[in-house]
Chain length 255, copies 2
Amino acid sequence: MNATGSLWIVGLGPGPAHWMTPEAAEAIARASDIVGYGPYLDRLSLRPDQHRHSSDNRVEIDRARHALRLAAQGRAVAIVSGGDPGIFAMAAAVFEALEGGEPAWRGLSIEVAPGISAMQAAAARLGAPLGHDFCAISLSDNLKPWDVVARRLNAAADGDFVIALYNPASKARPRQIFEAFDLLRQRKAPGTPVAFARAVGRSDERVVLTDLEKADPGLADMSTLVLIGSSETRFVMRGAARPWLLTPRSYGAAR
Amino acid sequence: MNATGSLWIVGLGPGPAHWMTPEAAEAIARASDIVGYGPYLDRLSLRPDQHRHSSDNRVEIDRARHALRLAAQGRAVAIVSGGDPGIFAMAAAVFEALEGGEPAWRGLSIEVAPGISAMQAAAARLGAPLGHDFCAISLSDNLKPWDVVARRLNAAADGDFVIALYNPASKARPRQIFEAFDLLRQRKAPGTPVAFARAVGRSDERVVLTDLEKADPGLADMSTLVLIGSSETRFVMRGAARPWLLTPRSYGAAR
């Protein structure tokens, strides 16, 4: 029942070092063991004395248990996520593993280091699309039934929220984003601004601005954050450059 | 029609320096002029050659215009927000000012530096409350009618989202948070976990965990982020310490 180790759940942000917080960098520097998906670990400059525990991107709960086990052995462990670990990333998996795991794990020192999430990187690049009330929805139905996703998309449309879609598509799930657009097109105006913001901040960044009617859901892949405006979201033109995307702070009658 | 200056819209994060990104720090270091609400400017160590343009926390649009005017004069300007400028902060005000302002302003170099927002700091402190689909709603009705707020709260409840409430109360608006709880109590289970996360990361941090039935909305002030769980959100107990708050990645039947 040794629980003297520590576990940091660390958000690396969307990619570039200038979007990783000093807290995240410190947590990694202090760790004896770093656990994470291989490509996230590849972003880090680890010292020879640090142990690297690389895994593929599946079965997050196994990775979380591995990190908790190492911490319970007295190690100083960092488990890393892209983006913010609290937003569709590793934090939930770790606390699920804790809930279902060894009683001693609950005595571990655990801290979460937040990070810039994909919707924030996308919003920063585009202008101010999240300038008003918004929802974040993961389209993955690996862990929830599609009818929950559909119910939330409908509610988000009914509430006229700006919608940020995470995990819109993968090779194993190419169709959900098409179904999501079908559903949203029944409830939102055809001219609603839409952005496909892929890998923002990385070398393969690609941003496409369009509207709900013309949008090709096939543009979305695993690295894409899809933003769909509210009825107030609009483009602010600036000559030949890509327009800014703005959801103003005011709404309807209060304008 | 000189538009050779530049404007950075910079997020300082929730307070502590370890939550400010290197990008934000660099943008401030490069600026000749820093514009912002006084207490945010007080967080920064500015050089004697940097011009400080302090304002009170009202009339964001005037502050935004001032920053754009300075940039249009050829200055290197940073306008700062707490949190993330894209989430209920300065980015929307700047692009609104741009939209309604001098045509030359559209030729300025403008960049947004994202930051850790209050809901992320709160989530990191609490465990993983945002581990699944969520909505962020500002309760301020300064710029939108209350019926829009109410419509969104209802939609968020109907979609069974985790709900992050920004700007829950101020001296001028003490009642909205009570009305919001009245409304949510009609649609969500009494045992739904609720957190009042005040000034997370600052010296006056205070966190209260409760549930929807027992919650006292009077705990919320200007510096409080209120989190209300989904039907899946639960506490993970850990002896005498404050329990973790978890919204698992799975939902209902898929568990």
